[in-house]
Symmetry: C2
Subunit: 187 residues, 2 copies
DNA sequence: CAATAACTTGCGTGTCACGCACTATTTGCG
DNA sequence: CGCAAATAGTGCGTGACACGCAAGTTATTG
């Protein structure tokens, strides 16, 4: 196992993000301004100053969990068998990453559908592009534009899939929506 | 022409964004904190309070011009001849939109490569997705996931193209980079 | 030429991000 | 095993900021 320090750090980080997201969900998309830094910090059991050592805005704290998940995109692809063609490897890797477990609807709604969170939400998804592009480059041996464009397109498709999964209309399992969205990318 | 009011409004909006971006470029990516609201407002010839009626953060003001450009993505596609296949229509529309004129390197560098601006920069590009998706849906007659995924993938590719165009290494014209990036999307 | 709507501006306020200095805990080395 | 160095948590103080409110100014409409 790693450092005690590293584990504690990760633990407080998670405590802050989950507290922030929970409080935000409680207030609903309209009352984001009511989620004060003090509330987040005390709900997470740290001082406001410490909260600020981890995140430099409420938005970042709220979306931090999503960002952590996205960052694992590269490893998710590497976990797929080497023989698999790229498109199915990517698809199944994303399904594995984003449906284990099935995401919390309320949390994702808050993150994706609150206007003031839009910038940070995009950032949270986009941070996955670089590690994913690296993993793609490793797998295909290519370099330059293509791996990056592919990664960016995949992440963008996931984002659209999330939006669709949140619409009350078609409540298919998230995995299905992801697969259908990625089919569109792989023409 | 439209309202005097509407034109004035647009003029002050542009005055603020150009002033904000210019000041930010002057300070360089490191000194974003030194670009004060007062400076932006007075450089744009408005009161700080008025600046705040148009934008609710410095980041938004700095990236406002990029956002305005992205918003025209739908119209850019509609301006392409109806007979054109979708992929070339999209490609040429994006080339038309983003290389008329050739963008300012320093400004784009600032927007795309400054960490504190990342969220707003993503937002600035992403606002083009919805109008572009609508234009795609009109052109293809399809609805649902596909137009949205296509639009999101195209915008993502443009973003990657911009990043590559900014690297000192390959200084090809931006139009070339866009075309090569979109080729990757249309597998 | 009123009556109304839209825009600008100054002021006041509550919140926030962060630098700095200090303490406590963990780590790694002699 | 203890001791120095690195690392994390915290309180305080400060400068900046976003925004509500209300008053003044300019455009629009009939």
């Amino acid at each position: 196992m790693t450092d005690l320090r590293a584990r504690n750090r990760q633990a407080t980080r998670e405590a802050i993000t989950t507290a922030a997201l929970r409080l935000a969900v409680e207030q609903g998309p309209g009352g984001l301004a009511l989620v004060r830094v003090n509330d987040i910090a005390s709900a997470a059991g740290v001082s406001p100053r410490t909260y600020n050592n981890y995140f430099s805005s409420r938005e970042e704290a709220i979306c931090g969990g999503q960002a952590d998940q996205s960052r694992r995109a590269g490893d998710a692809l590497r976990a797929r068998p080497a023989g698999e063609p790229l498109d199915v490897a990517l698809t199944e890797a994303m399904v594995d990453l984003f449906t284990d477990p099935e995401p919390d609807r309320a949390g994702l709604r808050m993150i994706m559908l609150t206007p003031e969170l839009e910038g940070e939400a995009l950032r949270a998804f986009t941070v996955g592009e670089t590690p994913l592009a690296e993993a793609i480059a490793e797998r295909t041996g290519e370099s330059g534009l293509r791996p990056e464009v592919t990664a960016a397109a995949v992440v963008a498709a996931i984002r659209v899939a999330g939006r669709h999964w949140l619409t009350p209309a078609a409540n298919r399992p998230f995995a299905d929506v992801i697969r259908r969205a990625l089919e569109c990318v792989f023409t």
